[in-house]
């Protein structure tokens, strides 16, 4: 894992509280699972029809009928349940998930999220991402602050097709933590090694700074 990703993962795990039902998206979010304190009773939900995802199986113990939403072989913890996809999404759409943590391509200052499509490049598809952002009680997006070319991914307006409009509660990048509300985008935390000037240069979106700004 890159340092940036590691920083994101270490910060993002604090979003998860004991007793929560959580859906972790594909990519960086999946890595967060390993960091959840072992004394927490957290149930991880998967669109594939599982509440209570366990660790990856041991070699030779893979079950072709048991996968997560990323189609990776997984296990189920004691107390887990399996269900069909209509039930999986009744949970999601019905607001029963306390939290979903998803990866992002772009986030706008209004809390719009784009994470499913690059026009003309791939057919792909949104999978369950649109359902998650419109249904979960709390939507946290994790992504690297800038793209590979060093360009801002936190923008005034998303240039890519949206996954959801005004759906992000919190954005966690390797440089900062932002919250979104009707008053706009607020910087809540900034990475220890980063100055506000530097952050502003790497952020296209306008944001205000929380009076009790913290570092992480």
């Amino acid at each position: 894992m890159s340092n940036a990703r590691l920083k994101i993962v270490k910060r993002a795990v604090h979003e998860i509280k004991d007793g929560m039902n959580v859906n972790l998206g594909i990519g960086i979010p999946t890595l967060i699972a390993n960091e959840i304190p072992s004394d927490y009773n957290v149930l991880l939900q998967s669109e594939s029809g599982l509440l209570g995802i366990g660790p990856y199986p041991l070699e030779g113990e893979e079950d072709p009928d048991l996968i997560n939403a990323g189609k990776e072989t997984v296990t189920a913890i004691p107390g887990a349940s399996f269900f069909d996809s209509a039930e999986a999404f009744a949970m999601i759409r019905g607001g029963h998930l306390d939290l979903t943590i998803l990866g992002g391509m772009e986030v706008s200052e209004k809390g719009d999220l784009a994470n499913w499509m690059i026009p003309g490049k791939k057919a792909n598809g949104m999978g369950g991402a649109m359902d998650l952002v419109s249904g979960a009680k709390r939507v946290v997006v994790v992504m690297e602050h800038v793209n590979k070319k060093g360009e801002p991914k936190v923008k005034k307006e998303c240039s890519l097709p949206l996954t959801g409009k005004e759906v992000v509660s919190r954005l966690i990048t390797d440089l900062a933590v932002f919250d979104f509300s009707s008053e706009g985008m607020i910087l809540k935390e900034i990475a220890e090694e980063v100055t506000i000037d530097e952050l502003k240069k790497k952020t296209e979106a306008n944001f205000s700074i929380s009076p009790d700004l913290k570092t992480f």
């Binding site: 029809g49 009928d65 069909d84 996809s85 791939k122 649109m130 359902d131 949206l162």
Partner: protein, 233 residues
Amino acid sequence: MTKGKIMTSIDEAIHDITDGATIIVGGFGLVGIPELLIQGLRNKGVKNLTLVSNTCGVDDWGVGLLISNRQVKKVIASYAGENKTAEELFFNGEMEIELSPQGTLIERIRAGGAGIPAFYTATGVGTLVAKGKEHKEFDGKTYILERGITGDFAFVKAWKADPLGNLVFRKTARNFNPLAAMAGKITIAEVEEIVEIGELDPDQIHTPSIYVQRIVLGDSSLKRIERRKVRQV
């Protein structure tokens, strides 16, 4: 054993599927797919199919077999990302892909099976998915109207069946299957094992027999794993 709805072969199970049919296919990626029915349909060669499926499979497996074989006119799916042929045919204009968010797609299939022609959901509001759809406010929040889906046929994969057509699924291989079973005018179940009538606990049947018209034993399926992940001891 009572014959009930048991077919003697895959070919018999799909004998009346013709060009232009709409088929709802269970599965999540390659898990819980009716793989022998799909192969049978590939061999049969019927064309201009409309498939309703969570994904487009991969190039050489799952519904991807039918796509690669140019048998498909249109796919309604939530994800097409693992199938390069599907992407190519889509960009060439040779095949239509209607992308529906996964939760909306499965609810549309359930709705079709449950006699609900349309329902409102917040999923997709403000995105490409909402384009051209009716918008309506309920209690101050905006929703879009989505239509139910039914199929001429549904292909489902189950773990166990009895000759009446009661089905039990296993782990995350359940996924789209019980809903697809509801929404097919003729639902064909490929199953790993057929047990006697009365052996399945009636409290533990996932799909009641009323939804299933044909059963075919498919104990030679490969159950290919799409992404094998293991942990170190």
